[in-house]
Symmetry: C2
Subunit: 268 residues, 2 copies
């Protein structure tokens, strides 16, 4: 998906919502917990209920990997259910030496038809470059994450500023705004502003809205650029909005509620 | 596997070699490239040829993930072929917010019966703790990796020293030497010494021997402790020692060559 198509999609939907499919069998509505393919059916219903309200889906590989091969099978079928033209993100946080990262890139951009994959910066340039080698695909590098552990290293002061800003500054030299995005947690609004200064033209994927308490309007003030430049991910608050048979309808209502807050996050 | 069992295993084998199964279909000996289950047969032969010379195997998930479900199937069957009592490492470099990391930990310590998994520190404490919650299992945290990209962030000077040392110092507060190890690349011998100072009692997993040019004796001088405290991983140089039908025998010869250099790396 090109940068232009992404901006066009956001404009047409009046939404920059990404729905995160962090699907755990234990958290499925009661009637699906023991159903064969319950997680897949659940994902398909969530996608059907929200596809016109969001611009893409983020599949966190952890929740599928923990189930072994049946989990990967569910991931593959979920991916195929996402309508053509929407952004399909593998939230995988991979990263290894170049030779190994090439295989991770192949996994998510070749074997599985994701448009984007999240990557950890700790191992540096040669761990990122193999992902950037795929034309039309997106590498989403962890900048400043939304969790409490982001304070342990990402916010550490290094010689020329905090580590997360070193990461952003260096990485803007590795990939252009039509192939690289950054993760910027909604729990750090002021720092989202600093990331925006360091990377004016790049899209930011914003987790931490919803269950973690981040605020869409505040992040828009700090992080918006002329393309909007923001993708808000919400996972648990949408997909687990109800644990009854109405989970799809309720997910849609909650998703609509988030979209209603995104007026100031859209492209000019 | 407990710390005592690991030290005992190293003592009895007179070896602290880990063989890395970075198995790529494209690099298999000619007669196996197109065989169904060629990669699995290859892994099994490598294991059979080297199991009495090493103390464990490291399976890099990238090389399996890139093949989709057949790759995970190969990983699972390879894992089952490793003799009981040896160290089975998932080189996965995972790490995500606590809720997601719990699922990665479940994947490698529950669904798959690995003894150890490599984890990236970038997301901090809550991304590591779920792995440490498994008694008898090992978390191997990236400290200083062997690749060129390690210079981008890991070697950056932060307020109280280089980032990789901040990681080691902080992480020693999260887990004890019988549940936590660190990755320390053989391409940085002096820094291996600094890691040893910061974490005197912890085992270090040393990549970068072999294809990347690190030196076993030099690392032993900088990194050994009274338990040995060193695990040397060699992947490509052993498993691809020959591309003919003698690949098992040749792998064994090369493995033996590495073990012969480990006299100064063993427990007192």
């Amino acid at each position: 998906m090109t940068l232009d198509s992404l901006v066009q999609l956001i404009r047409s939907r009046k939404s920059c919502l990404i729905v995160g499919l962090d699907t755990e069998v234990e958290k499925l509505p009661g009637h699906l917990k023991k159903a064969p393919d319950g997680a897949l059916y659940f994902n398909q219903q969530i996608i059907d209920a929200t596809a016109d309200l969001c611009v893409g889906y983020k599949i966190n590989t952890a929740f599928y990997e923990s189930r072994g091969i049946p989990g990967w099978d569910c991931l593959e079928k979920t991916l195929r259910h996402i309508p053509e033209g929407m952004l399909r993100i593998a939230d995988a946080k991979r990263g290894d030496i170049g030779n190994s990262s090439r295989h991770y890139a192949r996994a998510f951009f070749g074997t599985y038809a994701f448009d984007a994959v999240t990557v950890s910066p700790y191992m540096g340039a040669d761990s990122i470059e193999p992902f950037l080698d795929y034309p039309g695909k997106w590498t989403i590098l962890l900048g400043l994450t939304s969790n409490s552990g982001s304070r342990d290293f990402q916010l550490k002061e290094c010689a020329s500023g905090p580590l997360y800003l070193e990461v952003i500054r260096k990485a803007t030299g590795w990939g252009s705004p039509d192939q690289l995005m950054f993760v910027a947690g909604a729990t750090h609004p002021v720092q989202v502003g600093k990331i925006r200064e360091a990377a004016p033209d790049y899209f930011l994927l914003i987790p931490g809205i919803g269950a973690q308490g981040g605020d869409i309007e505040k992040i828009s003030r700090f992080g918006r650029n002329r393309n909007g430049g923001l993708l808000f991910n919400v996972s648990r608050n949408i997909i687990y909005a109800s644990d009854g048979r109405d989970f799809g309808e309720r997910a849609r209502e909650v998703a609509q509620g988030y979209v209603n807050q995104m007026g100031h996050s859209l492209p000019e």
